[in-house]
Amino acid sequence: MDIGLNHYLVVGAVLFVCGIICMATKRNAIGILMGVELVLNGANINFVAFSRYTALGLDGQIVSLFVIVLAAAEAAVALAIALNFYNNHLTIDVDRGDELAG
């Protein structure tokens, strides 16, 4: 069986779903961040696969470059927020950040 677009898209889908589950179930703020990275990588695989297997050309690769760079920025900010959260709550468990709950 030749490797085609579908194969790569399915790998991307697996990464995406794993990321979603990770974001939904982890209570550690940094674990949630890792879930976000997985989701973004799943999307990136799709972009690069389309750039190889369709007439999209290099545009797909450029978009995935932007995603990588912005994900790094997002990780830096999210980590700064997580550190601030830890400074204030002395834990990284996001379920404890419930002061605003009525």
Binding site: M34, T54, I68, A80
Partner: protein
């Protein structure tokens, strides 16, 4: 099984296995390790897809940068080794159930599409080759295509090398390309850099009575330590400085030629240098400020209320560009920072205070 198939299945296995292990493991550092495995394999998949530049970027930024940052965050926030914050089994069951459903949905959608036909109808050629030959990558049969680094670089500047491709006649060359997104991302990164540093900074406790100590130190220009100049006063000072500078610059430009013509490069260089010397020199002089600042009764000091050195004033002047690059956000920071500092004040470690 060809080499490509073997590599694909191997990489697909490590990618998916790594991702699933991230979900399953409870120890956050192990999660990070499995994330390294997953993302590293993703980088290899990019190489397999002829996207060498994206693959290298993935390795450098994701695996070498972001994950190191994440592990660093884990180390800073773990109160003991191997902290586990367990997921409750109920959550896990529900989430995996929903996840598996979504996965089947996605796989069903993907396989339902006839990509060959879609590609041919998009290209508008019933007999277009599918899959199309890789435009770039490790494609040595077409030496002119080379690898992806140069085409991507040109594309970011707005020049497309793919216009020789007959299937892409509609996307004509010399569009703006990705220059604007590239610039926006650059500014975004700069803002993030500053913002992350601001968020994560250690809370600095100013020792009690520090201001009083500073008060006793002699300063040549009597300044009111702790009375910071407001935004509007500083804006007015800048306006006056602008008038002063253009009062010299415009006649000089008139001597060089009519104003309708763009100035020569040499003129721009010399006048920028003179403006730089004026700003940095005046701020580090005994006057502690430019003419505008003298008129508006404000002065530049360091964080201890002392006059600034020329080097510091130069750093402050150069960082003004930084403030300007963030869409003038750096200047507006004086509105809300604690000591009414702009971005260039923060960079150079200076304050602007009222004179006595």
């Amino acid at each position: 099984m060809t080499g490509e198939q073997f590599l694909f299945w191997l990489l697909a296995l490590t990618t998916c296995g790594g991702a699933i292990a991230v979900v399953v493991s409870q120890n956050v550092v192990r999660m990070a390790f499995w994330l390294v495995v997953a993302l590293g394999s993703v980088a290899a998949i990019y190489f397999l897809l002829h996207a060498d530049f994206v693959g290298a970027t993935q390795l450098m930024i994701y695996v070498g940068g972001t994950i190191v940052l994440l592990i660093f965050g884990v180390m800073l926030t773990a109160s003991g080794p191997y902290v586990k914050i367990k997921t409750s089994p109920g959550d896990m069951v529900i989430a995996s159930g929903v996840g598996v459903l979504v996965l089947f949905l996605l796989i069903g959608t993907v396989t339902a599409v006839d990509w060959k036909q879609a590609h041919r109808s998009l290209v508008g050629n019933e007999h277009a080759e599918y899959p199309p030959a890789p435009a770039a990558g490790y494609n040595k049969s077409n030496p002119s295509s080379g690898n992806t680094a140069r085409p991507i670089g040109l594309k970011l500047l707005g020049v497309s090398l793919e216009d020789t491709d007959p299937t892409r006649k509609d996307a004509q060359n010399l569009s703006a390309g990705y220059l604007l997104p590239f610039e926006i991302v650059s500014v975004h990164l700069l803002v993030v850099l500053i913002g992350a540093g601001y968020l994560a900074r250690a809370k600095r406790r100013v020792p009690v009575g520090a201001d009083a100590v500073v008060e006793t130190l002699a300063a040549p220009v009597p300044v009111q330590v702790g009375v910071y100049a407001g935004f509007w006063r500083r804006a007015a000072a800048m306006l006056i400085d602008g008038i002063v500078i253009s009062a010299v610059q415009v006649p000089a430009a008139l001597l060089m030629g009519p104003l309708t013509e763009p100035p020569s490069n040499a003129f721009v260089c010399v006048s920028s240098l003179l403006i730089f010397l004026y700003l940095a020199g005046m701020e580090s002089s005994a006057y502690q400020g430019t003419i505008g600042k003298i008129i508006m009764r404000i002065a530049v000091t360091d964080t201890y209320g002392q006059p600034v050195s020329f080097l510091r004033a130069a750093a402050r002047t150069l960082s003004r560009y930084l403030s300007g690059f963030c869409l003038l956000f750096g200047y507006f920071m004086a509105l809300f920072t604690k000591r009414k500092q702009t971005l260039h004040d923060l960079v150079a470690g200076t304050l602007v205070v009222r004179r006595k």
